[in-house]
């Protein structure tokens, strides 16, 4: 028995020893990287980019506005698409399916260009910002609709029947029985989709909307400081996406069954 004990102790020591050694190696490699990088960092470049902080700030505000508006609009449109997708009219269901497949199967970049140069032009929509928000919301709403549909359809049939049997209308069934149950499994994927939406707004720079990415591109063009121009860009998006993940996690905990 003492032998066994000693063996397990020795095994333990071996384990901790190797963990220590491994972390030492990792830390030293990381230190090396940081050292190498810091050799390349010149503070004058950061200071130069710092002069353009107003450009970043305005770009970030624009991105913030686009994100929040598109976020709300895409949730609303998503709910509409789900309703159409689950409608009792077969033609409406098929049409929705077609739209979903086309939007999901083509690049957002193409959609932005097509919508901006063909559709918006055709219907006389002047504002670039409104066009950008619309196309972004529409693109995202298709994904959101499919997420909502997925989480609704896993709810067992007896739940629908029980709701019907106690005399709830279809709207009441969704409001009091189905959606509260669908929300929890929906949250993590919805949070991911909304974070994607925020990052996808960067593509709107292609039609000249002066959001954060365009701001970074402009600062880069003016200063030739690429890393220093795009680092604030990443930070700017993180400030927008992190609260969403956080809120979703908090809500998820609150909704625990």
């Amino acid at each position: 028995m003492t032998f066994l004990k000693e063996f397990s102790l020795r095994k333990n020591r071996l384990l901790w020893g190797s963990i220590f050694l491994l972390s030492l190696i990792t830390v030293s490699i990381a230190c090396n990287f940081v050292f190498q990088a810091s050799m390349r960092i010149s503070f004058s470049k950061w200071i130069l980019v710092g002069h353009y902080r107003n450009v970043f700030w305005h770009g970030w505000l624009e991105t913030f506005f686009i994100s929040v508006t598109a976020l709300l609009l895409s949730c609303f449109l998503g709910a509409l698409i789900v309703t159409a997708r689950r409608s009792s009219l077969k033609s409406l269901r098929l049409l929705t399916l077609l739209i979903i497949e086309v939007i999901r199967g083509t690049p957002l970049l193409t959609q932005i260009l097509f919508f901006f140069y063909v559709v918006a032009h055709g219907i006389g929509l002047q504002s670039r910002l409104a066009t950008g928000i619309l196309i972004l919301s529409f693109f995202s709403s298709v994904y959101i609709a499919e997420l909502i549909r997925g989480s609704i359809e896993v709810i067992p049939k007896p739940q629908w029947e029980s709701a019907k049997a106690i005399g709830l209308t279809t709207f009441q069934t969704y409001r009091y029985v189905i959606l509260p149950q669908a929300l929890r499994p929906l949250l993590p994927s919805l949070a991911g989709q909304l974070a994607s939406l925020i990052k996808d707004s960067s593509l709107l720079s292609i039609i000249g909307i002066s959001e954060l990415t365009l701001a970074a591109q402009q600062v880069n063009a003016a200063t030739y400081c690429t890393l220093e121009s795009f680092f604030p860009l990443a930070l700017g998006y993180l400030i927008l996406t992190l609260p969403i993940s956080l809120a979703s996690r908090l809500l998820e905990k609150k909704l625990i069954l």
Binding site: P158, S162, K164, A165, I166, Q172, Y176
Partner: protein
């Protein structure tokens, strides 16, 4: 109460083929407390209960409850269902609500009662059914038997015109079965007629005052319970009763 059905047709798609379940089904039955629908699986008793509950629409035929004709359009059925209390085999309760909230839901949402009034009523009925101790538990914290008892409380809370139970004990183990069956037996005191689909022959014998026996979508026998069990009409019914008697003693 009286239930009359005339020339009822109902078919289902089975493997892309239309299969007739009820072909010109007609009957009329009057009972005071409990009507039991018996018969082998697939015989049509659950479908009949679902038609009675306004959850399934027949292709043709008429349903009359206490002299009133039931119309099968969406709006009329919606109003008709509000006057009934239904309990299914399982998963009756809404998992995101507590037992109390489950029982309150028909009052607050359908009948639009004030929250405090609904709460008082729900607490009263849970107390009557000895479920007070569990009122703040969610369905997954309840045993199968307790869950079904809460479902029965929810069906009772609106004081429905009549109750419809579809094999409420079939998914329970024997011990829980007896606690639910005991409760159903007590329901007589509520004076609300009950239509019950069940496989529990002994229970039907004890509790039901009228019985309908279905097989292949047809009524083989119907009548007062005593007479039904002591003088089975056909050979098939005799065999069925003997078989289930054997099962009940197991």
């Amino acid at each position: 109460m009286n239930i009359t059905i005339a020339h009822l047709h109902k078919s289902f798609l089975v493997h892309h083929r239309l299969k007739n379940l009820f072909d010109d089904l007609s009957f009329s039955i009057t009972f005071q407390h409990v009507l039991a629908l018996l018969g082998p699986s697939g015989g049509g008793k659950t479908t009949l209960l679902r038609i009675l509950a306004g959850l399934e629409i027949p292709e043709s035929g008429s349903l009359t409850v206490d002299g009133k004709n039931v119309r099968f359009d969406t709006k009329s059925l919606y109003h008709y269902r509000q006057k009934l209390g239904v309990v299914f085999q399982q998963q009756n309760l809404f998992p995101h609500l507590t037992a109390l909230e489950n029982v309150m839901l028909p009052l607050t949402v359908v009948q639009r009662l004030e929250h405090a009034v609904a709460k008082k009523k729900a607490e009263e009925i849970l107390d009557q059914l000895q479920l007070s101790a569990h009122q703040h538990q969610k369905p997954h914290q309840l045993s199968g038997g307790q869950g079904q008892r809460v479902a029965i409380a929810r069906a009772l809370i609106t004081r429905p015109q009549f109750l419809l139970f579809d094999e409420p004990t079939s998914s329970l183990d024997p011990e829980m079965k007896s606690e639910v069956l005991e409760l159903i037996a007590q329901l007589r005191s509520f004076q609300i007629p009950l239509v019950l689909v069940t496989h529990e022959m002994e229970f039907a014998k004890k509790c039901a005052d009228q019985v309908i026996y279905f097989s292949n979508g047809k009524i083989i026998d119907q009548g007062a319970t005593k007479h039904f069990f002591s003088h089975p009409k056909t050979e098939e019914l005799k065999r069925f009763l003997e078989l289930t008697r054997g099962v009940d003693h197991l």
